[in-house]
């Protein structure tokens, strides 16, 4: 089977991409290579996870499972400690299902995976893996195999600080910025992509893996802050000179990104298949919705008292709910989650809703959420999803009880400020459920009907391209329209045994699979030829 090149583009959407791949007056074609892939190959919108957020969506994309199975719902996870909450970052040990890298590796395929989130600490692969979203201080420990860091360090121009995730800088996403700050924001992200490209170029050329995957995330970071100069619906009535300057800078970023993709495709060779996907789309957010303020006004939560200490100030300014946990029944934990957690008092004296009152409490809460109106009298929360409906699976209980969708697809605010709903002074970029999928190469069709795909379709597609069977427990499928009839005739889609259980995950106990059972499954797979000795 052909070498498979997979490019992840965080947050890329056809709203924008359709503009970048066509001739625009005075701007030309910003992404001519991607234009060629779309013109000569397959492309379709890709529906993200129920809540279109980077960690759950990328993990769905590389596991073929919805968050209710894989267990990642947000950047962070929390522990309810009755009188306090403990917050920490989600990581690979929270993922409860097998990854694409593992599935391909154990069937003898050589793999390179670069910059995908939630891959830290890294799992061993048959090849190389560098975790994404990692600080420069922890890069060495977050790549595999041993010695890879020194190999990457030897690449001319390598800078760990430029390549790695800058937590302080990225926390500014969503803040209003001056023109100078916006220009600096764009400039900061260009060298970072260049660093990832250099690493990608080196490992692709030297290792020639069967599956090569790299994710570029500057797209998402830029779009959050500069959407007002990108969205064709927002700029159709003209831009100021400063906005035009900013747009030109951003287009420079996309032109360079197109060159990276073209170079990687060239290195992969003419017989390689190239796939591009995003974890979610993008759109404009026009208002701020302070969801915990609303819940507080309705009596569902109580705010923590700020005693004036540095700790209290830090916690109040952090992107985590800062509440009086002894009096809080329901709250939104983080702005990224758009989730509402209902606390259940499982023991007498604990704060929360008595278990027998949970259903009635939740029904009233949904009613109250849908009743929120903006200054214009319009309904602000357009959807409230119950976790059993959108996150079915063994990990469902780690999901928020409810997940809300706002009328502008924005993320909520968890801070205690008034008013509850307020128009933004500058339109911001936010996540839209529909991202992109592009395929190009031998056997790939040139279907342009744009039938909606699902994010869990990507993993089976990549496995099919590698000539591997699709695990029975995958939730997505290889779409009929993506490949030619000849391709399917010569290479029918094969279905194989389920994915391997993950026993070192924090939630693995719930899977009920012991080490002995895992060893037995491994032995069976080896006997069937699905596992390398």
């Amino acid at each position: 089977m052909a070498r498979t090149l997979f490019i992840g583009l965080d947050g890329v959407t056809f709203t924008l991409l359709d503009e970048l791949v066509r001739e625009l007056p005075g701007e030309g074609v910003a992404m001519p290579f991607v234009a060629k892939l779309m013109r000569e190959g397959f492309h379709a919108p890709l529906r993200s996870t129920a809540h279109p957020l980077t960690p759950p969506a990328w993990v769905s994309l590389i596991t073929g499972r919805n968050p209710g199975h894989h267990g990642i719902f947000d950047f962070v996870r929390s522990e309810d400690r009755i009188t306090d909450f403990y917050w920490t970052l989600s990581d690979r040990l929270d993922i409860r299902v097998e990854s694409l890298w593992s599935i391909a590796s154990r069937q003898g395929k050589r793999v390179v995976s670069l910059n995908f989130p939630m891959m830290s600490p890294p799992e061993p692969v048959n090849g190389c893996l560098v975790s994404g979203f990692v600080s420069w201080k922890h890069l060495r420990r977050n790549m595999t195999p041993d010695g890879l860091y020194d190999r990457i360090k030897a690449i001319p121009g390598f800078s760990a600080k430029e390549l790695a995730w800058d937590f302080q800088r990225e926390s500014q996403i969503g803040e209003e910025m001056t023109q100078a700050e916006l220009e600096a924001w764009v400039d900061h992200h260009r060298p970072r992509e260049e660093q990832w490209f250099r690493v990608a170029e080196t490992l692709l050329a030297e290792d020639k893996p069967d599956l090569f995957a790299v994710m570029f995330d500057g797209t998402d970071k830029l779009q959050h802050q500069v959407w007002h100069v990108l969205d064709p619906r927002l700029i159709k009535n003209g831009m100021t000179d400063a906005e035009k300057r900013l747009r030109e800078r951003v287009l420079g970023y996309y032109r360079r990104l197109d060159e990276y993709i073209a170079r990687l495709a060239e290195l992969a060779g003419p017989d390689a298949r190239v796939f591009i996907a995003s974890d979610h789309g993008f759109t404009a957010s026009t208002e701020v919705v302070r969801i915990n303020r609303y819940l507080g006004e309705l009596g569902y939560l109580a705010w923590a008292e700020n005693d004036g200490s540095a700790t209290a100030k830090r916690r109040e300014d952090a992107n985590f709910a800062f509440l009086d946990w002894t009096k809080t029944l329901a709250f939104c934990p983080t702005p990224s989650s758009n989730g509402i957690v209902i606390r259940v008092a499982n023991e007498p004296g604990h704060p929360g809703v008595p278990p027998e009152q949970y259903e009635a409490f939740r029904a009233k809460l949904i009613e109250d959420l849908l009743a929120l109106r903006g200054p214009d009298g319009g309904q602000v929360i357009t959807g409230v999803m119950k976790r059993e409906d959108v996150f079915p699976g063994a990990a469902m209980h780690a999901a928020p009880d409810l997940t809300v969708t706002l009328r502008d697809h924005g993320f909520v605010s968890v801070r205690n400020r008034a008013p509850v709903v307020e128009s933004r002074r500058i339109i911001a970029g936010t996540h839209h459920p529909d991202g992109i999928f592009i395929g190009y190469g031998p056997g790939v069709s040139n279907d342009h009907s744009r039938k909606l795909m699902n994010i869990v379709d990507v993993t089976p597609t990549l496995l099919y391209s590698l000539g591997l069977p699709v695990p029975q427990d995958f939730e997505g499928r290889v779409r009929d329209q993506m490949f030619t009839d000849e391709m399917f005739d010569e290479n029918p889609v094969l279905f194989g045994p389920p994915t391997l259980p993950v026993t070192n995950a924090r939630g693995a106990a719930s899977s009920g699979v012991s080490e002995a059972e895992r060893a037995k499954i491994l032995e069976q797979l080896r006997a069937l030829g699905y596992l390398e000795n």
């Binding site: 400690r81 306090d84 920490t88 040990l93 830290s120 600080s135 201080k137 922890h138 890069l139 693995a508």
Partner: protein, 100 residues
């Protein structure tokens, strides 16, 4: 604080847990250009300049090292409902030892 550090240092100098914790933390800070040697009395924040993200990375590394995926660092980081200001390497080893 100083007295507590000395007690911890005395108790765990010979502990293999302490040696493993030191090795893990040395591995974490190896690219940080620090001159500070790591021992039981080393304070994560004051001596090594740990930030919250470094604590998270350390927690994951220790989970892997000790094969304890359900070990909760919240027990170590939150005392009487408040986050602690700093931790010594010895305190971490002590907490791990108590749970092995």
């Amino acid at each position: 604080m100083m007295q507590a550090q000395e007690e911890i240092s005395d108790t765990y100098n010979s502990s293999s847990t302490l040696a493993s914790v030191i090795a893990t933390i040395e591995s974490i800070v190896q690219d940080w250009d620090l001159d500070q040697p790591v021992d039981a009395s080393t304070r994560l924040v004051a001596d090594l300049g740990f930030e919250s993200i470094d604590l998270i990375q350390m927690a994951a590394a220790l989970e892997q090292e000790f094969g304890r995926p359900n070990f909760s660092f919240a027990d170590l980081l939150i005392v009487d409902g408040r986050y602690v200001d700093d931790l010594t390497v010895g305190q971490i080893a002590e907490a791990l030892d108590a749970r092995i």
